[in-house]
């Protein structure tokens, strides 16, 4: 890695700021990709490492938030594709609605049910749903994913429908 001396300080500072500001969001993002705590810990560390490495070339051409989410999602997506999960059981948002809701025991927390639902999705749909759950607007989501605003809006509409059916009607399942 060729990082100049002046670059090193800013790279480290940028990373420290990003970790302090977006640490909890990155933790939640890792939950959207890995259910197993050990694998999630590894993924989270990979994300932080990728982030630190990426800051060597950060040049303000996009916002810090967009940069961080792109790096984080890209790292996690690479893991999904490399673990060959892509051609197995992942579904699109349209297909997700057709999958029967699973009967979880009461001990399964609502947040875990939500994470399990997200983990069924293909990477791009997963990025949109995570952005929506983090409270990002369609423009910010479009900037992160590269999808057109209309496409993002359409996907968010579907996400809201799915989530409302799974979480409002199924309120008895929540913790």
């Amino acid at each position: 890695m060729s990082v100049t001396a002046s670059n090193v300080a800013s790279q480290d500072d940028l990373y420290q700021d990003a970790a302090a500001q977006f640490g909890p969001a990155l933790d939640r993002l890792a939950r959207a990709y890995e259910f197993d705590p050990e694998k999630r810990r590894d993924l989270l560390q990979e994300i932080h490492f990728a982030l630190w490495r990426s800051f060597a070339t950060y040049d303000n051409r996009c916002s810090l938030r967009t940069w961080i989410y792109r790096v984080a999602h890209n790292t996690a997506t690479t893991q999904v594709v490399r673990q060959r999960r892509i051609y197995s059981t992942l579904v699109s948002l349209d297909e997700l609605d057709q999958i029967a809701s699973e009967n979880h025991s009461d001990s399964v927390l609502a947040s875990e049910r939500l994470a399990l639902l997200i983990q069924k999705l293909k990477p791009l749909d997963r990025q949109v749903i995570v952005s929506y759950l983090e409270g990002l607007d369609a423009a910010a989501t479009g900037e992160i994913t590269g999808l057109s605003p209309s496409n993002v809006a359409m996907k968010i509409h579907r996400i809201k429908n799915v989530l409302s059916r799974r979480f409002h009607s199924g309120a008895t399942h929540a913790e």
Partner: protein, 191 residues
């Protein structure tokens, strides 16, 4: 009263206690990654050198010309495969001045990389094929000759032959189905 708003559920979930490591640790990790890659190269080279040494040993031991030709072809093929694997392990550096790819670009790139790797797998292993065919043909001829005096050899070898046949038929079908699914995904991303 419990809150069923998914955004609230998501944002208020309990944080995993992960000690976010500091930059010096990452520098160490980068160095470890480079070291690990070097070890992978060394291990690959060792396996192939051991294989070539073994092939050389067989070459010296056998007096059959066909087998010798097959072994020489296998050794040549192995050297070519080592060269190809080296190239794949150390890809040329990419320009890193641009912002990170969008999710769409990164996903497409990963799918294409997977697709290319799958297609290249056969091309990478193809140099081993001529030598393997010559050696296998020579071996089959020897087995048939031995079976003419002792037919039990054929019966004992039948399960292996059946498994090999099933594998040879099933592998391309599974591979083709996976490639088709990834191709469909790529086409959907392009639209």
């Amino acid at each position: 009263m419990q809150n069923n708003d998914p955004q609230t559920i998501w944002q208020q979930q309990k944080q995993q206690e992960i000690n976010v490591s500091l930059a010096p640790f990452f520098k160490l990790k980068a160095e470890q990654q480079r070291t690990r890659n070097r070890w992978i190269v060394a291990a690959n080279d060792f396996v192939y050198l051991a294989t070539i040494s073994f092939l050389g040993f067989l070459f010296v031991k056998t007096t059959n010309l066909t087998e010798r030709v097959g072994l020489a072809l296998l050794a040549g093929g192995s050297l070519f495969v080592i060269y190809q694997m080296h190239k794949q392990l150390w890809p040329p550096p990419v320009a890193s001045e641009a912002p990170p790819d969008t999710g769409l670009e990164a996903y497409r790139r990963e799918l294409m990389r997977w697709q290319t790797n799958q297609r290249n797998l056969w091309r990478t292993l193809a140099p081993l094929l001529p030598g393997a065919i010559v050696v296998a043909a020579s071996g089959i001829r020897a087995v048939i000759r031995a079976a003419s005096t002792n037919p039990a050899i054929l019966i004992n070898g039948a399960p292996f032959c059946v498994l090999l046949a099933v594998w040879l038929v099933a592998l391309p079908v599974v591979r083709k189905r996976r490639l088709k699914k990834v191709q469909q995904e790529l086409e959907a991303l392009g639209s």
